[in-house]
């Protein structure tokens, strides 16, 4: 034992991991180390996911009593007008919140990477909302908004505009801090010599920002857009707690328009109609998964291609 240790200690530090003496045993035991995580991943993700796809073709009360019904659920899902409306609500919400969150987060990060007093304190404070759960935030903000709107004789759920912007403000408040941290990391990685060179060459502040800094923080922009995009599409807790889809207007034919209902909430309320709708909700969830996956992957592809090598 002690001989081995001595040998290891003598080696230059960089080559230690690549040494065959160390690598071989690690490689041999790799499956064992991977196993616990892999088992968890299968139990917690792969299996429920496959079962979910199977259930979307079934009529069921609980997964135990599923009966195969073919594509009926998908037909019902696509012919449900509330699903389409929820999709457009979500799209609108996603566009607005992605733009707002990223721009504000970037500029806060930019400001906080300049030499200023209390920058660390601000970073912490801006990040803190991210630590509060979505449902709690929804209720707190509904009180804040209602408190303000009551002064003007109205309330948050009175119309779709209030509900929509209320949700945007809530989510922006919650997520800007998180995205800010990522942007700060990105900004700090911009090479100092490049900035210095730009300064010597007489580049203006704006030029430096657009031509030097932005291309260099592209990786951060990629990850932040990815996170805000997927977060917006998957938005559920905040939506449920803030407005719950209200205001709900009943049309003359009895059909309802839930003006602030996003996709995830629509799936949730579909499930609760009755047992015959469980499969439909499941089908909507599968469609939802494909939609989010396609959007997220194409966004990743689009922004990755703009990243530069340092």
């Amino acid at each position: 034992m002690s001989d081995k240790k001595k040998k290891k200690a003598k080696r230059p530090s960089g080559s230690a991991v690549t040494s065959n003496l160390i690598r071989k045993p690690i490689q041999r035991w790799a499956p064992l180390f991977i196993l616990p995580t892999f088992v968890c991943f299968c139990i917690g993700f792969i299996w429920p996911f496959l079962q979910g796809i199977y259930l979307s073709f079934c009529n069921f009360m609980t997964p135990k009593d599923a009966k195969w019904v073919g594509i009926t659920n998908y037909v019902k899902a696509f012919s449900d007008p509330s699903f389409g409306r929820a999709f457009w609500n979500t799209t609108g919400f996603a566009v607005v919140s992605i733009v707002l969150i990223n721009i504000i987060a970037f500029f806060i990060a930019y400001a906080l990477t300049q030499a200023m007093r209390g920058a660390n304190l601000f970073r912490t404070v801006f990040f803190m909302p991210n630590l509060i759960g979505g449902v709690v935030l929804g209720y707190i903000w509904s009180m804040i908004f209602d408190g303000i709107l009551h002064r003007y004789g109205t309330y948050l759920e009175a119309n779709a505009t209030y509900g929509f912007w209320g949700l945007v403000i809530l989510v922006a408040w919650q997520q800007i801090g998180y995205m800010m941290i990522i942007y700060i990391a990105g900004l700090q990685a911009v090479p100092g010599d490049m900035l210095e060179a730009a300064k010597i060459d007489g580049a203006s502040g704006w030029k430096t920002l657009t031509k030097v800094i932005l291309p260099n923080v592209m990786p951060s922009i990629t990850i932040c857009t990815f996170l805000t995009l997927t977060n917006s599409f998957k938005m559920f807790d905040q939506n449920l707690a803030l407005t719950g889809g209200n205001p709900i207007t009943t049309l003359a034919d009895g059909s309802k328009i839930a003006a602030t209902e996003l996709l995830a909430l629509n799936i949730y309320s579909t499930y609760n109609i009755s047992r015959n709708w469980h499969g439909v909700a499941q089908a909507k969830a599968v469609i939802f998964f494909i939609l989010v996956a396609v959007l997220a992957l194409s966004q990743l592809y689009a922004t990755r291609s703009k990243e530069v090598q340092q």
Binding site: H150, Y155, A158, N246, I248, S269, N272, S274
Partner: protein
């Protein structure tokens, strides 16, 4: 050394899998849906286990999430053996899981079939273990301070006269007529469910409805408007703020003597007497009057959603244990005491007389020959969505941003659409 460690790890993992499937002695798993009765059920379960050695697990779903909890619990291997199945809609969903209880000991203990849910061939799928009543809870002491007594209130006109007068003198009296009619999710069911029962009940009574109708006419919606307008006008709370006004807030207004009237049910009795210390002799429950002809003869709105069903897909040993537990609950000293305290009058032979004065009111009105307003809202199709539509319209109407027509549309057209969705 490493090998031994790895072996230990593998062993631990294997054991933890084995442990999941081990030990299968008979046990009872009760899914309770009343958070306010959770502590009482836990104590009773512990007492039963101490007496018989049979483990009883009681899980209580958080307020308003019973259906969700039931669905996820039922999907598990150790599913509830005893659960609630209280309406026709619930029976349609869970019928496959309900054991026919006719011929069981606990069923033999029952005094009435009125609250039970039955299948097409007379199978007893769920037994109503208690019934409840709702109406307008009234603080008699405050009413006397304002110069009135409950005898002055016999119909909508007299209720309105009293309430209007109290509201007009609210500053001088120090209390108002009605506690806030909050439309936040924690309170809106009192109106989209219970108050909406009034127009539904009278319409169904006229038409002899015995099962969920595909359409309703809303013939008594004007009466619904009467009483709703009274609630939001003769109250200290600004109607524009009702959207975020909670059930707790309303309870507190009544509990702390800021309001004379509070619409709710028998289940609030212990809250009012224990938590807020209102003497039971000061409390009474009035029928909900809304201006329907002959309503002076109305009693309280009585019915139940509290029905026990036994999981037919549980193992025979567990079913046996569950039936024994149920029998014990409705016959033993500890069981009947707890049932009377928590649930009031129970339709079982050995049931105890409850201390809850609201039930005394319910029984007195019936013994005076008045008609019981039954729970017509139990027929509501896709109840959550239908109520959500009504609440949204009602909120807009109360705040002055919407009109009453929208409430009527949500009520009538909404019913037909939800019925179609449910049966389509």
């Amino acid at each position: 050394m490493k090998k031994i460690l790895a072996l230990v790890l593998v062993l631990v993992m294997a054991l933890s899998f084995v442990a999941c499937g081990a030990a299968d002695e008979p046990s009872v798993y009760y899914l309770n849906f009343k958070p306010e009765a959770d502590a009482a059920w836990q104590d009773l379960a512990a007492a039963y286990t101490a007496e018989t050695g049979i483990p009883v697990t009681v899980l209580t779903a958080a307020s308003g999430t019973y259906e969700d909890t039931l669905t996820s619990e039922m999907a598990k291997t150790d599913a509830p053996t005893l659960f609630q199945c209280g309406t026709a809609a619930a029976l349609a969903n869970w019928g496959d899981y309900c054991l026919d209880l006719s011929g069981t000991d606990v069923y033999a203990e029952m005094t009435t079939d009125d609250f039970n849910l039955k299948g097409e061939n007379g199978e007893v799928y769920a037994i109503g273990y208690c019934y409840e009543a709702f109406g307008i809870i009234c603080n008699k002491a405050l009413l006397a301070k304002a110069g009135y007594s409950v005898e002055d209130i016999t119909d909508f006109a007299s209720l309105k006269a009293v309430a209007d007068d109290i509201h007009a003198r609210a500053d001088e009296l120090g209390f108002d007529a009605f506690s806030s009619a909050g439309l936040d999710g924690s309170s809106s069911w009192r109106f989209s469910g219970h108050l909406a029962n009034m127009p539904l009940y009278y319409e169904f009574r006229d038409n002899g409805v015995t099962e969920c109708p595909a359409e309703i006419t809303g013939a008594y919606l004007d009466n619904f408007k009467n009483i709703w307008d009274l609630y939001i006008t003769d109250s200290a709370v600004d109607p524009a703020t009702l959207s975020s006004s909670t059930g707790d807030a309303s309870l507190e207004e009544f509990g702390t003597g800021k309001a004379v009237f509070y619409q709710n049910g028998t289940w609030e009795f212990s809250n009012l007497t224990d938590k807020y210390g209102i003497p039971a002799s000061d409390l009474t429950m009035l029928p909900i009057y809304c201006g329907v002809e002959g309503e002076a003869n109305a009693a309280l709105c009585s019915g139940t959603e509290n029905c026990w069903a036994v999981n037919s897909q549980a193992s025979d040993a567990d079913i046996e244990a569950t039936l024994d537990f149920m029998k014990w609950v409705v016959t033993s000293e500890a069981g009947t005491t707890m049932m009377a305290e928590q649930f009031g009058p129970c339709p079982f032979k050995s049931a105890k007389e409850p201390a809850n004065v609201f039930f005394a009111d319910a029984n007195r009105l019936i013994s005076e020959g008045k008609y019981t307003v039954t729970w017509a809202f139990n027929y509501t199709p896709n109840v959550d969505d239908w109520r959500a539509g009504v609440v949204s319209a009602l909120t807009a109407y109360s705040a002055g941003t919407g009109d009453w027509e929208a409430v009527e549309t949500a009520f009538v057209a909404g019913w037909a659409a939800e019925y179609a969705k449910l049966n389509g």
